[in-house]
Symmetry: C2
Subunit: 162 residues, 2 copies
């Protein structure tokens, strides 16, 4: 493999959540890439993540099923594009496992992790959309609140359980 | 980067062209990844490739413009997914550079090169489609004849010019 992809978010099309959290990035990485460590915090409560499948390599599956408080299930299947341990994880719903183009595409997600001097993590999550309509829809679905709540849940989980 | 993607063509959805050619794979790789070495052979004559842009890294642009004998131009922009020098090149039109989901997706292409005992190359090109309709459309567009003719043009070009 050669150089990594250059990711340049476009404010018209993309959404970025940046946080500094007081847990080490190695634990954040493990929680994002291990099904049983991901399920407890991955969607904003009272929603639940009831299933998760991970094949941690470019082209490998990333599949989750979220369940609403009313019991409705929302499956999501995509694949990883870049897996750089403890640094950067990129996946998309525009492609199914094995790089097969998906029937519908909503966004590509980039999770970038950097260590802070204090032993914590600079956590940057970027959602890359096809167009402005995609960005607006994601904003209306509550990107900032939802992804922000998920970071809080992730940090709580790491401190209590890992 | 971790392990490479597992590519498993599905005969219902995908198309595969396999050839053994008598040129070394290092030259095939260079011809596929260098714009000025790609343009002369990349589309079946009398069509021409009038422009080509390559940023050879995962997420980097692969853009071509083909021109029909009548002068109509057909631009195509996608991005690379895997770049393993002399071995495997994967790109898709399902994503634009920087992994942005594309407005339309047709296929992902996998070019796999292996050296033969005689110093030639086992050349396998696989087109991975979203669905059966995509595979049929590509077949009707002349996948086997077209991609086959392109291999002949590539081999001629390498022997005469490289």
């Amino acid at each position: 493999m050669t150089k990594s992809a250059i990711i340049k978010p476009d404010p018209k099309l993309d959404l970025v959540l940046e946080r500094v959290i007081d847990v080490p990035r190695e634990l954040v990485w493990r929680a994002w890439t291990t099904p049983e460590l991901l399920r407890p915090w991955f969607c904003p409560k009272p929603w639940e993540t009831v299933d998760c499948e991970i094949d941690l390599r470019p082209g490998g599956i990333f599949r989750t099923i979220m369940r609403s408080p009313e019991g409705q299930e929302f499956p999501n299947t995509g694949c990883y594009l870049e897996v750089t341990p403890n640094e950067r994880l990129i996946w998309t719903d525009a492609m199914l496992p094995g790089y097969r183009p998906a029937p519908e595409a909503f966004f590509t997600a980039v999770l970038a992790l950097e260590p802070t001097a204090a032993g914590g993590t600079r956590y940057v999550a970027t959602a890359i959309h096809r167009d402005e309509a995609g960005r607006k829809k994601h904003e209306e679905m509550g990107f900032h609140g939802g992804w922000g709540m998920v970071v809080d849940q992730l940090v709580d989980y790491i401190k209590k359980e890992m």
